[in-house]
Symmetry: C2
């Protein structure tokens, strides 16, 4: 009996997901041909609908918050879940930023003649259908939907179950806006079951989904990568380094090291390990440590660091791999550029790494040899961000090398097809 019930449920989830997939695929064909004007009109209508429904959306969010508190969600999770009027306005501002972005679709580049006489170029096109799996942050629902629409993609959204009511309410406004603008409502669909089987289906429906973007805990992302039969743009950890090279301007180095670690702790572009070149360690470490102490940052150092900073705890081998996402910093004194680069390429997560130096040749070598999605000279690691990079809203930060690397904006949701313009050419 129980088994029969289970089978029925499984079947209906499969059916539901297949329907979502088919609808998304059909919508994607229409979106691919939609004009910039029509897509922007839809985004404007969505903005208006969200404003009209603000009270309902905040009420839905209040239910999620109440459930969250009843289920003893931790403070950080509740904070991400909460929609205040100020955050709501922030969401709308983000939407208007997306409207203002240049539409990448249809752009033709590199149109040149080949010796055969054909004219060859590339045209930017949408990927098709995006599947997005993300944490319980309702603002991501709108961000992801608006980026997908602007780039001509349909999207299927699966947010964290704690944000269920908020996401349904936001989706309602999005679909109302789409309807007003005469674009398919199924351009943006929110999966409305908490059953985890839905995720398993979403990431394997290669007929209906062209790319999966998972955001959230490492466990989720590893599961998605392992089980997906659809290409994945994934964001694993951000173990970022700042290397204070011996020829660094230490006056500049202090604010950069402080900003990279303490501007925000729980973000992937925060510094987790500070590398200091041996000749400047005795001068620099006490100064920066004083600033960290003021902020309450726990310091964990190698032996040399601890001989300079007596209150630093000992760092273990594991600390060099760690993404703390907390007021904790590992510090290592290294002997020059080679050791710094080797350390970063070995222990780092290829996310964002920074050198502080006034030496031209060393800056150039660091830029070339560090294998990370963002490599920086004399700037805070915190700049590795879609907004700071001018991409508009960002749908994620890719730690992959294939397709999109680093912050993923509109362009990451597109592909290029080849176009050939001829006058009767045949191949000889």
């Amino acid at each position: 009996m129980n088994q029969a019930v289970h089978q029925a449920t499984t079947q209906s989830i499969e059916q539901m997901m297949t329907t979502l997939g088919q609808q998304a695929r059909a919508a994607s064909r229409i979106l691919a041909g939609a004009t910039t004007q029509s897509k922007n009109a839809a985004l404007q209508a969505i903005s208006q609908e969200l404003q009209n429904q603000q009270a309902d959306i905040l009420a839905a969010n209040a239910i999620d918050m109440q459930n969250g508190r009843a289920n003893n969600l931790d403070a950080a999770l509740l904070d991400r879940l909460e929609l205040t009027p100020a955050r709501f306005k922030g969401m709308l501002d983000g939407l208007h930023d997306v409207i203002a972005l240049v539409d990448p679709i249809g752009a033709i580049t590199d149109l040149t003649y080949r010796p055969s006489g054909i004219q060859l170029g590339k045209m930017r096109v949408p990927l098709g259908v995006v599947g997005m799996i993300y944490e319980s942050r309702p603002n991501v629902t709108l961000e992801a939907a608006s980026l997908a629409l602007k780039s001509g993609n349909a999207i299927i959204l699966r947010g964290g179950s704690e944000a269920f009511n908020s996401n349904q309410a936001i989706a309602k406004s999005i679909q109302a806006g789409l309807k007003i603008a005469n674009l398919p409502e199924s351009s943006v669909q929110v999966i409305n079951t908490a059953d985890r089987a839905a995720v398993g289906l979403l990431i394997t429906m290669s007929d209906y989904v062209d790319v999966i973007i998972p955001r959230g805990g490492k466990g989720l992302i590893e599961r998605v990568s392992r089980e997906a039969r659809v290409p994945v743009i994934k964001h694993l950890d951000g173990n970022c380094h700042v290397f204070v090279e011996r020829q660094a301007d230490l006056v500049k180095a202090l604010p950069i090291c402080l900003n990279s670690k303490t501007h925000r702790y729980g973000v992937c572009n925060a510094m987790e390990t500070l590398l200091v070149d041996a000749p400047v360690a005795a001068e620099f470490l006490p100064q920066i440590a004083a600033l960290y102490r003021e902020k309450g940052v726990e310091l964990r150092g190698d032996e040399t660091t601890r001989s300079i900073l007596s209150d630093a705890l000992p760092a273990t081998e594991q600390d060099w791999y760690e993404e703390y996402l907390a007021p904790i910093l590992a510090i290592k004194v290294v002997d020059g550029l080679d050791e710094a680069i080797a350390h970063i390429n070995k222990y780092g997560s290829h996310h964002t790494d920074v050198i502080l130096t006034e030496n031209y040749g060393k800056a150039r070598r660091f830029l070339n040899e560090v294998d990370s999605s963002s490599v920086m000279i004399n700037a805070s690691s915190r700049f590795a961000d879609g907004f700071e990079y001018g991409l508009g809203a960002e749908i994620g930060i890719s730690t992959d090398k294939i397709h999109a690397r680093g912050p993923v904006g509109l362009e990451g949701l597109t592909s290029q097809k080849w176009i050939v313009l001829g006058d009767g050419q045949i191949r000889v």
Copy 2:
């Protein structure tokens, strides 16, 4: 006892593959920093070594051919396997083409200032380690190795077992050339076991392999896509269409339709379905059918086609999906552009599709609305090719949308990292 032996073998293959992977990863770090001069010197030395070892390589190929005949390989397979002196020269010519290509690595583009004062750009970098699984065509061994080296990647090659001796002999020359040029010999490694477990390991070693490129039968590619834990650039089928629109110049259309189908049959960019607009069907079909008959092409048509071409066989629904790779052509009479585009997007494989027309607006719509990796106007589908597109040798043709689409040359083996040049900027 048998189980113990089996375990030992499995263990040793695992050990072998791990060693290959670690060596490739280590080599990739050196290749990523190698200068253009050094990579070209290695390719030159490889060319010289191949010339020196030509007799040995052809002798090794003769053994493979002998084994192939003894194992009753079919004629097409034997043809691909065979290395004649002329084909050997063709291989060397291809290698020299790769030497002449511009090195994409290190190119910095889009360097612009952001409002924060940081200067942001992108730098082209190698992917790292490429895993290549391919049919029994020894020339692919050299093509893939030379493209990987030029783009700063290490490569692990797994060719068809029928080409075992040929591939080992070619790899020996490649590694000798690498040694002469002081680049790691393990930059190019050939798996030297026929055990299929090696493939299973290659496509799941995500620590050591950054991308897998499978070439060959659909069964292989589907298996790799299903089991891989590493991103895959895959090439599935090429069900290509030519659409003769009512405003086509029929004088140009005849040679293009002939060339697209009969220039070569067993290739992925050959036309498999001819679509003819109803108003010109009665005039065009008899003319083109006469040319196909001369070449011995079997025609399979829908009802309207058969009312015009009495000797055409009836086409079934399955024919519209078929990649014949043979002197067989499906023909359908359609009623205008919309039906043609809908047919192509439904039945096609998103590889290469062509419209023949002199109508500007329809050409433009076809270009925008057909969702294929190459979309052409008034040219033969046979142009969808890395050489014709000016990519130099091609490592494959991707039917994916993610990362690389269509013919994949050097650039498909690279990625871009973000670079940030600052003067002390911190995030506010």
